[in-house]
Amino acid sequence: MMDTVLTIDRLKKHFVTRQGTVKAVDGISFSVQESEVFGLVGESGSGKSTVAYTVVGMYRPTEGKIIYRGKNIGQESRKRPKELRKDIQIVFQDPGTSLNPRRTIRQILELPLKVHSLSKDDKKPLERVEELLEMVQLPPSYMYKYPTMIGGGERQMVGIARALATDPSFVILDEPTSALDVSVQAKIIDMLIQFQKKFKLAYLFITHDLSLMRNVASRIAIMYLGKICEVALASEFFENPLHPYTQMLLSSIHVISDEEEALIPKKVVSRGEIPSPVNVPPGCSFHLRCPKKMDICSEKDPVMGEVSKGHGVRCHLYDGEAG
């Protein structure tokens, strides 16, 4: 049995705005095991990034628990012990805005080393920066460049190097490749998987790209309007998608070979748009777009039930089957 790194238990994060309360994350639970890649998929506005920011401590949860290696860490980052902040790192979506344009790459990579006093004992910070750059296959001369002088893919490499500078054991990847081209994406994903194996890292991998998810994650959860609607092992997920939303997502993918075509549910045609999270429909939040809508769906919010081992789905269609 693998150890659990992170358990999220009925986590809620609400934002109060003038238009009303935005329930960005509304009671989600999942856990990430040791050296596992856990994938979180959803459309924009589904609350994926809010989950990431809450776990890393940029937001304080409204309700619920975040348990990291047995400790509840449901507080803001500045109140967390330094040791913990060192252990959980994040790579942001847009490498163009997550690196300070007025600092050199060297300054960017040295900062985490200074903050966590990692360089005093054995190595000079400069050597460590060189080592980090080498790790992400960038030449040491890049140290003196500014982020605007290098390409998007290379910037993201620096972002990854910065996250790995403190030797974390859990890394949150918030759409690390969605701003990049496919050929660059492939290179970065390949590198991330190598690091994951080499340093025994656990990843919380957030993306909207299901085909990419199929290739990196071992377990996948689908989010819709702040709630998880289906969670399963990656292979199971694509062979036997149960939730109508998952089926709709899969049928929306444009694939590039006939073998992939066979995996796509044919009958579910995507329609409608994701509603505003201020004004979530009553009952199941997906019922307005759902092709298999029943009367109960607009009245009662379904609960997550386990259909087979490790495969949970939150839908009234499977009420009978779930034990």
Partner: protein
């Protein structure tokens, strides 16, 4: 042999910058036949949008200069046209859907005002339209792109609509005049997967109904595979492969196309390839010969010296790579 709807021959577009010239388009050849759906695939910064802007003559000149080349639309060279003829083409023949619908709509005017402008501008020459006619036409085009409650949408500002709805508005403005060529520049890229799928299907349906030719520009190989008859693959300002869609995806010939297809994550799993090593060259001083040779694992001495022309692998498949110079069928 029918005349092609659009034919680009040896187009060179340079941009003048402080350091010299960015040699972006380097001898592009491109053909669209009447009623054909053509895909154009390539990575960021390979010159896809520059090429489309050259067709519409909306490139900002300077800094851009067209060094060489011809663009024929139904046999007439667009680059030699005067403003009047150009306006006629933009009004009724070619229209374009841009990547970002938020930037394509003016935020300070109501949708109704913006549609009215397009409709009155693209009406048939000499034919007058009353306010009521224009309004009816606007409602009709909005219905055509499956927007609910068109009367209300006419009174809305772009900010009051979602991204998907805005893109539908943009499609409707492109469809107002019965046009012969529709250029869709990454129409779904800024949208969510389910919405992207809806928009692409919508474009497909409308185009099918009217028999319009389409150029679909995308960096998503999947979208191109599902929507088009023929595909061009572009790399650093020149075409590297042109083939029937089926033929390209079943059997990509150019090393760059192969790399692109291998780098795309598959639903069947099996991991993501290592990608294509290196990156797109600087346009200020691009590699000589084949622009792909510094990244190519099959590079030969000739690749450095000479730019490969299109070699015909079979009648459905052309590739600009010296690996195929002996495969040329003799006809």
């Amino acid at each position: 042999m029918p005349t092609p709807l659009l034919e680009i021959k040896d187009l060179h577009v340079w941009f003048s910058v402080f350091k010299g010239f960015l040699k972006v388009l380097d001898g592009v050849d491109f053909v669209v036949w009447p009623g054909e759906k053509v895909g154009l695939v390539g990575e960021m910064g390979c010159g896809k949008t520059t090429m489309m802007k050259a067709i519409m003559r909306i490139l900002l000149m300077p800094p851009a200069t067209i060094r060489k080349g011809e663009i024929f639309f139904k046999g007439r060279d667009i680059l030699k046209m005067g403003q009047g003829q150009l306006q006629e083409i933009r009004r009724r023949k070619i229209s374009m859907i841009f990547q970002d619908p938020t930037a394509a709509l003016n935020p300070v005017f109501k949708i109704g005002t913006q549609l009215r402008d397009v409709i009155s501008c693209t009406r048939e020459r000499g034919k007058s339209m009353t306010k009521g006619d224009i309004r009816r036409r606007a409602i009709q085009v909005l219905k055509e792109v499956s927007l609910p409650d068109p009367e209300r949408i006419l009174e809305n500002y772009p900010i009051q609509l979602s991204g998907g709805m805005r893109q539908r508005i943009c499609i409707s403005t492109a469809l107002v005049s019965t046009n012969e060529l529709l250029i869709a520049d990454e129409p779904g890229t800024s949208l969510d997967v389910t919405i992207k799928d809806q928009i692409l299907r919508l474009i497909g349906e409308v185009v099918e109904k009217r028999g319009t030719s389409v150029i679909l520009i995308s960096h998503s190989l999947g979208a191109v595979r599902n929507m088009t008859d023929r595909v061009y693959v572009m790399y650093a300002g020149s075409m590297v492969e042109a083939a029937k869609t089926k033929s390209l995806f079943a059997n990509p010939r150019h090393p760059y196309s192969q790399g692109l297809i291998a780098a795309t994550p598959k639903l069947t799993g099996g991991g993501v390839g290592k990608g294509v090593p290196g990156r797109i060259p600087e346009y200020i001083d691009p590699p000589t010969g084949c622009r792909f040779h510094p990244r190519c694992e099959h590079a030969m001495p000739i690749c450095r010296d000479k730019k490969p022309p299109f070699f015909e692998v079979n009648e459905n498949h052309q590739v600009a790579c010296f690996l195929f110079r002996d495969n040329q069928s003799h006809r």
